[in-house]
């Protein structure tokens, strides 16, 4: 098991980093859309 992680360390870090960045990006995108919705709601009110 340890050998597997040692052999594929860069690949694991690359996949983990891409996954993290995708998560952060989607979170920011959703937040952006939710804010737009709240701003529209506040403007109407």
């Amino acid at each position: 098991m340890t050998e597997f992680f040692a052999d594929h360390a860069l690949l694991i870090v690359l996949a983990g980093s891409l996954l993290c960045w995708t998560g952060v990006f989607l979170f920011l995108l959703r937040m952006d859309r939710a804010l737009k919705h709240i701003e529209d709601h506040l403007k109407q009110g």
Partner: protein, 233 residues
């Protein structure tokens, strides 16, 4: 240009940086455009450079913008400047924490321990405490104007100390930390492929900061507006 398109462009831009940073091989003498040279003593650990330095850079940009907005607040007494200053200080703190974490990870593999009280580590810890205190101060004052005024003064003082802790201390005290990107002669010694990926990462992180800053400002304004509405009702 459509903002959504720009956001997706940023996604692919930084995904490209991550791919290049971890997928490009490190070879003793690079012959192709997609190869990094071996840096003696660092080897694969040099890859952290593409994230650690841009995160520190973004923290510096955020702290400077926080200070400029604080000065603008003291001059114009406009609540928007206080919001920008607080939002930028928060993001600066976030990127500073990320730079500290990536630096600690690197230290673990290179120096054998996550924390060594190296001058770089000590100065960044003090900077984190200074900006942590900014938010303690912010949450301790009730009056809106008084809070904005005191926080603006504090943000300026914190902003003045920041270059000292990030740029001056590590250069005047002996440190194990590798030489900064812009060395003491004011020159950048880096392989062209590494420099391209590094500059792309710098641009990507800066763009990400401005997007996050815009989101934070909008969130804070919406909070203030909805609280005012609730009070009026």
């Amino acid at each position: 240009m459509d903002m959504t398109l720009l956001k997706f462009l940023l996604f692919f831009w930084l995904a490209g940086v991550i791919l290049a940073a971890f997928a490009f091989p490190i070879v003793p003498s690079p012959r192709h455009w997609n190869e990094f040279p071996v840096i003696p003593g660092l080897e694969d650990k040099a890859r952290i450079l593409f994230f650690h330095v841009p995160m520190s850079w973004t923290a510096v940009v955020a702290f400077i913008i926080s200070m400029i907005s604080a000065i603008r607040y003291l001059v114009r007494k406009n609540g928007n400047d206080d919001i920008v200053s607080a939002a930028s200080a928060g993001l600066g703190l976030l990127f500073c924490v990320l730079a500290t974490v990536t630096g600690s990870l690197w230290a673990k593999f290179n120096w054998g321990s996550f924390w060594n009280w190296d001058p770089r580590e000590t100065s960044i810890a003090i900077l984190l405490l200074i900006y942590g205190a900014y938010f303690a101060l912010r949450s301790a004052i009730d009056g809106e104007e008084k809070r904005a005024m005191l926080c603006a003064v504090y943000a300026i003082l914190a902003g003045v100390t920041m270059p000292f802790f990030i740029f001056i201390v590590p250069r005047i005290v002996a440190s194990l930390h590798p030489e900064p990107i812009v060395n003491s002669q004011g020159k950048i010694h880096m392989n062209p492929t590494m420099l391209t990926v590094f500059l792309a990462s710098l641009a990507g992180f800066t763009a990400l900061y401005f997007w996050m800053l815009r989101l934070r400002i909008r969130t804070m304004k919406a909070e203030i507006l909805s609280l005012a509405r609730a009070d009026a009702a």
